[in-house]
């Protein structure tokens, strides 16, 4: 298992916050983290509707120790709070998900979504500006035409790099319920957005209509038993996607089969262990995240206590199950009381699909090596983070004698939760969002 160290004590703080990280506003809480396809850019969304994009510094022979540092590249307000007057509902501006489009020209494109509206943003650089207009002076003021005696051709001159983000498309009014996922199709022409009961397929060019491809809303809402919790397209097959449900099931659908994919092609479900039955069995079996492996062969799901890896060819049970924090099983009632049991943890694959990572409480996050079956618990905290320091594995003591470096279950801070993490597509660089702080860790390089 590789050791992760901190190349630099990079702790992100939102630009407009002058408070220390221990005292932050709710709007600064990071709600999504995503690397782009090359890993050059890292986007974060927060509860205040802002998107902050980091760019990796180019390697420089002169400053080897600064290789790979991520700096703020662009910040923009993606979504604003809205009010639905018809339903008397406030629509939160919190960014639920960001998904990058593959780069096709000099500009970068990403999708960001809140509960109701998906937006396509173009992030582009401007490092030249035209000078020498005839009708305007350098400040842009119009010149009196009578004073113009000569004509000149405007020229482009270099300027300080400016990164601007512009909304290119707004996909609105297609979701009655809260959007929980977006996923870009491998054809790069379409994407899907999923809410609690429906999944819609969009074309990037068309904003005023979308195809509904999954609809699990029952005729009688009182017969509702499950909702959609996450959805994702297959990384290579543009006709295939999966969606997970609150009942702990995953359905794989093929869009070639029919226009409405209510009937799944594959159905993944593990029988419940009756010995673990409790009041909260349904809650902890609800899947909070589903991710295809980069190979497209496996899917990984996260429920409250475990991460499971499924082989697409075997529907009746997962091939691997990892316990994230099983010591919480006896504390479900308390976690229900303080609402922690509803936390939606995400999970990620590394570039080679050999390691999976997910978050936990007390700013802990866990990594599982699928090959060696070893796992490690690490902590994202200021105190443990000195430059060049190697992250020390942490351990939770579940009972009995507590060793020196262990932390007991009752000492865990449940307000410090790591819900969102991201892994660089090809290197061992991870981004971990701890409330309002973003930690970026890199593998130790010799």
């Amino acid at each position: 298992m590789k050791c992760f160290s901190r190349y630099l004590p990079y702790i992100f703080r939102p630009p407009n916050t002058i408070l220390s990280s221990s005292c932050h506003t709710e709007a600064d809480i990071i709600s999504t983290v995503e690397f782009n396809h090359t890993g050059e850019l890292l986007a974060t969304g927060d509860k205040g509707g802002r998107v902050v994009i980091f760019q990796r510094e180019q390697e420089s022979k002169n400053q080897i120790h600064r290789r790979g540092e991520y700096n703020v590249y662009s910040t923009f307000q993606s979504h604003e709070p809205e009010f639905d007057y018809l339903k008397s509902l406030e629509i939160e501006e919190k960014i639920n998900k960001i998904r990058w489009l593959p780069q096709q020209n000099a500009a970068y494109f990403l999708l960001s979504t809140n509960d109701k509206t998906v937006k396509l943003w173009k992030v582009s650089e401007r490092d030249k500006r035209p000078e020498g207009y005839n009708l305007k002076d350098e400040e842009g003021r119009l010149r009196d035409p009578s004073t113009i005696t000569t004509l000149r051709v405007p020229v482009l001159r270099p300027m300080d790099l400016m990164v601007e983000a512009t909304p290119r498309r707004v996909f609105a009014n297609a979701h009655t319920y809260h959007i929980n996922s977006i996923s870009v199709n491998s054809d790069y022409e379409t994407y899907m957005s999923a809410d609690d009961l429906r999944i819609n397929l969009w074309n990037f060019e068309i904003t005023n209509q979308s195809f509904n491809i999954v609809d699990i809303k029952p005729a009688n809402m009182e017969e509702l038993t499950e909702v959609i919790t996450a959805a994702e397209f297959h990384p290579h097959h543009c006709n295939t996607f999966v969606y997970s449900s609150s009942k702990g099931t995953i359905r794989l659908c093929d869009m070639r089969a029919s226009a409405l994919c209510d009937r799944h092609t594959k159905f993944f479900e593990e029988p419940e262990d009756p010995s673990n039955r409790s009041f909260f069995s349904e809650i902890i079996s609800s899947i909070s995240d589903v991710k295809f492996s980069h190979s497209g062969r496996y899917i990984m799901t996260r429920d409250y206590l475990t991460v499971k890896v499924w082989d697409l060819n075997m529907e009746n049970r997962p091939i691997e199950t990892y316990q994230v924090h099983d010591y919480l099983r006896s504390k479900l009632c308390s976690l229900y009381e303080n609402d922690c049991i509803f936390d939606k943890f995400e999970c990620v694959w590394n570039g080679s699909d050999s390691v999976i990572m997910t978050g936990s409480y007390n700013n802990f996050f866990r990594m599982f090596d699928r090959n060696t079956k070893r796992d490690v618990t690490l902590e994202a905290s200021r105190e443990n983070s000195k430059p060049r320091a190697i992250l020390k594995p942490r351990k939770v003591c579940v009972g009995g004698k507590r060793r020196k470096d262990e932390i007991s279950v009752d000492s865990l801070d449940f307000s410090k939760k790591i819900l969102h993490t991201a892994w660089h597509p090809s290197e061992n660089i991870i981004a971990v969002a701890a409330t309002n702080n973003l930690y970026i860790f890199q593998d130790k390089v010799n």
Partner: protein, 325 residues
């Protein structure tokens, strides 16, 4: 016994969550409320199936005594009342007179008159005599019955597919049709009406008349008993089928209507897998009425409200604690 207490506690927590979800920013979260409703249902099943009689379930043979003191205390001190099992008398009264709040509240029909409710609520005696579990179940039924009686919000959000309209409609249907039993199918007729008759509308004097709330149960006389159609306080519940007796009081008794509607509404969640949760009552920017409904129990002293509402006196501390939310 421990299971029952645990279930009791979980139920109270769940109801609190549902209540709070209505004021959360961003609207009611369907997923979370679904999960909470599943927990509620599990806890309720445990609670009802636990054979242990418990201190608070014993009841003398249906004497509709209105215990003035005991319920008031819990109301005044919700936490204490919450933990204290109601006295047998209180329990009996609650079981018997639970429908009372939902009846069109006319001054003459106040719960203080204990005998009348017993007489007018047909089948109540049977329920009481039928044994504890049955009584409990009957109590649940009665509690859920009123759902239909509550006037629905007239200005419900448009759109069938919206979660809010669905919920109230579902709640309404469920309450009418499936008294506490999930296996009973819901109303076959999909009333397009968005409003939930099961929801109380505190600010409305005249509950609007929606299409038949639960056509299955209502029948020809249904409309009158229908929520919205909740007649003016002059109605004579005695003439109506039992379910209609539990109707939300019409005009006039706004506070009481809202009060019990609120409580009964929350309690109705027990009987449904999901309905009752997806109410039109949106949190942020909610209508005044909604806020009125929610805030009024809170704004006034719980004890104060109970003073004015003999209804609450007869409810067990469980219900009063819900009011205190």
């Amino acid at each position: 016994m421990e299971f029952k207490l645990e279930a009791h506690r979980i139920v109270s927590i769940s109801l609190g969550k549902i209540y709070n979800s209505r004021v959360q920013r961003g609207g009611i979260k369907l997923h979370k409320n679904l999960l909470v409703s599943l927990v509620l249902r599990s806890a309720r099943q445990v609670y009802l199936s636990d054979p242990c009689p418990g201190l608070y379930l014993a009841s003398p043979a249906g004497s509709p005594v209105a215990p003035p003191q005991q319920p008031r205390e819990p109301a005044a001190r919700p936490p204490a009342g919450w933990e204290e099992p109601p006295s047998p008398a209180a329990r009996a009264t609650w079981q018997e007179t639970e429908p009372q709040p939902e009846r069109p509240a006319t001054p003459g029909e106040r719960r203080t008159d204990g005998a009348e409710p017993a007489a007018s609520v047909t089948g109540t005696g049977d329920a009481l005599r039928g044994g504890e579990a049955e009584a409990a179940e009957a109590a649940w039924r009665r509690v859920e019955g009123p759902r239909e009686a509550e006037a629905g919000e007239p200005g419900g959000p448009a759109g069938d597919s919206d979660v809010f309209p669905e919920g109230p409609r579902a709640a309404r249907r469920h309450c009418c049709c499936a008294p506490g039993r999930e296996d009973k199918p819901g109303t076959p007729t999909g009333s397009p009406r968005v409003d939930c008759c099961c929801m109380s509308r505190p600010a409305e004097d005249e509950p609007p008349a929606p299409p038949p709330v639960c056509p299955r149960k209502r029948g020809a006389t249904g409309v009158g008993g229908g929520t919205a159609g909740c007649p003016a306080p002059g109605s004579t519940p005695q003439k109506k089928p039992r379910r209609n007796l539990e109707e939300q009081p019409g005009g006039g008794e706004e506070e009481e209507e809202m009060e019990t509607g609120n409580v009964a509404n929350l309690i109705s969640i027990f009987g449904s897998s999901f309905s009752g949760l997806l109410r039109k009552k949106s949190p942020g920017g909610g209508r005044e009425e909604e806020e009125g409904e929610e805030s009024r129990p809170e704004a006034a002293e719980p004890g104060q409200i109970c003073c004015d509402k003999p209804v609450l006196r007869d409810m067990n501390p469980w219900s009063t604690a819900i009011v205190a939310f």
